[in-house]
């Protein structure tokens, strides 16, 4: 049975009416899950949909229920977030866990390795990008659907929960001794940050490449919430301005706006302040988290028989680039740069 047949069978059973699937097509990106677009026809009406299905091997292991509830937490809340419609944790007719959401058309994603990624619209995209992130940080997670599934850490436990997790990933997946990552982890443990000023929903992968823009300066969809969790709001900001996402530009972050402007936009939208010492910790952490993901990618690439080139590139080129970034940050923190 083809995926299209499986999807039609599922939608017909759950909707109670004959459902037809048109234009089913896998789309690049969303590397932790297989992502497909399709049009659903029911009763003569058609709606654009997205299917996110668990892969057999993945860049990162994530909780699909948390991702689903993260979409639900911010849909219709003034942010461009698609509507999450159905979650099947046992896989049903599609055999592997999946969820379905409404599709936002008219947008395109940009690879972090393009130059310049947003052309003349960089500043306008940047203003929305960091303002949206501040809006996410301002929300109270306890009032949102994500709190049904995500662990709520203590304010002073946000950093250790994340660092423990990602160090665990390195411990589990490292296939060659990672001297630079290990040095960075030790530094993070020796110099813990202050407690979070509040708990927030952390998108977990908020960066260039994980949103759609219309090519005319407007962000139309915030996507890829698969690493969403509850934690310190500075975590997302550190990840968003991680140098990896700026290709090799140093005068602005994520190919959008200067660093100071990004922070000011985030502060204005979130109502929070960025403590430089705390933020330095979260910036270094962002590089460690990235490095852990690439270590994992390399292992998964081998385990999957070398068939997913995205895993191969991530576990190799991106890992090397992340090493460069980490080594330079470590040196800079000691005044050596």
């Amino acid at each position: 049975m083809s995926l299209q047949d499986q999807l039609e069978a599922y939608l017909t059973r759950t909707g109670g009416k004959p459902a037809k699937v048109h234009g089913l097509s896998r789309i690049p990106g969303g590397a932790s899950r297989e992502t497909y677009r399709f049009d659903l026809e029911v009763d003569g009406g058609t709606r654009g949909m997205i299917l996110r299905r668990d892969p057999t091997g993945s860049l990162i292991d994530t909780d699909r229920r948390v991702e689903f509830l993260a979409f639900r937490s911010f849909f219709d809340k003034g942010l461009p977030v698609p509507e999450a419609l159905a979650l099947e944790e046992e896989g049903a007719e599609l055999e592997r866990p999946f969820f379905i959401m409404g599709r936002i058309d008219g947008g395109k994603a940009q690879s972090p390795f393009t130059m310049p990624p947003y052309g003349e619209h960089a500043a306008e995209i940047g203003r929305q990008f960091f303002t949206h992130l501040g809006t996410i940080a301002a929300a109270d997670p306890a009032t949102l659907p994500i709190s049904e599934a995500a662990v709520t850490p203590a304010l002073d436990g946000c950093w250790s929960k994340e660092l423990d997790y990602w160090e665990g990933v390195v411990n589990e997946d490292e296939e060659h001794p990672q001297m630079i990552i290990r040095a960075a982890i030790r530094r993070l443990r020796r110099n813990p940050p202050p407690p979070a000023q509040k708990l927030s929903v952390v998108h977990g992968d908020y960066r260039t490449g994980n949103f759609l823009h219309d090519g005319a300066g407007k962000i139309v969809a915030l996507l890829d919430w698969e690493m969403a969790h509850i934690g310190d709001p500075l975590e997302d900001l550190g990840w968003a301005i991680e140098p990896l996402w700026s290709y090799k530009e140093t005068h602005r972050v994520s190919g959008m706006v200067p660093r100071e402007e990004a922070i000011a936009l985030w502060e204005a939208a979130s109502g929070l302040k960025v403590d430089p010492a705390a933020f330095a910790w979260w910036e270094l952490f962002a590089s460690v988290k990235g490095a852990a993901i690439w270590v994992s990618s390399a292992k998964e690439y081998r385990a999957g028989g070398f068939k997913d080139p995205v895993l191969g590139l991530s576990g190799w080129y991106t890992a090397r680039r992340q090493d460069e970034i980490l080594a330079n940050v470590l040196a800079k923190l000691e005044g050596l740069a």
Partner: protein, 138 residues
């Protein structure tokens, strides 16, 4: 260990050989072809510079171990196998010894050697650097 150039080129072949299901044609296949192309491009750099980077790194780690009074593991005292895989095996042994040394240096508060190791990390990452040309925005 990050994937080797041989594994990546094998992977490129395998990922292109497998017939895709109909729903994975179009944009997805276009993206896949682009990534395999990038990998091939970068593999050329690795073929040019990979052995040199590993030989340099192995020698630099031995120097740091000597500087810190740490023993150089007998099985890694010299590079004998100059294939990438052979150099990587020696490198893994040396890196483990360097990680132990760095922990000891940090605990002892030996700033001079700590900084020497941090400078080595910067140089090592640069030696292994892969240069991806910027892609045109779509």
């Amino acid at each position: 260990m990050t994937p080797t150039a041989s594994e990546l080129l094998l992977g490129n072949f395998l990922s292109m050989m497998e017939p895709p299901p109909p729903e994975a044609l179009g944009d997805f296949m276009q993206g896949k072809v682009a990534v395999t192309g990038m990998i091939s491009l970068l593999c050329a750099q690795e073929a040019e510079r990979g052995a040199e980077a590993r030989l340099w790194e192995n020698g630099a780690i031995r120097d740091l171990l000597s500087q810190g009074g740490a023993a150089i593991p007998a099985e890694a005292d010299v590079d004998r196998d100059f294939s990438i895989a052979g150099l990587d095996r020696t490198n893994a042994t040396l890196r483990r010894a360097l990680i132990d040394l760095h922990i000891a240096v940090e605990n002892a508060g030996d700033t001079a050697l700590d900084h020497a190791i941090l400078r080595f990390y910067v140089k090592s990452a640069d030696m292994r650097r892969l240069d991806l040309p910027p892609l045109p925005a779509n």
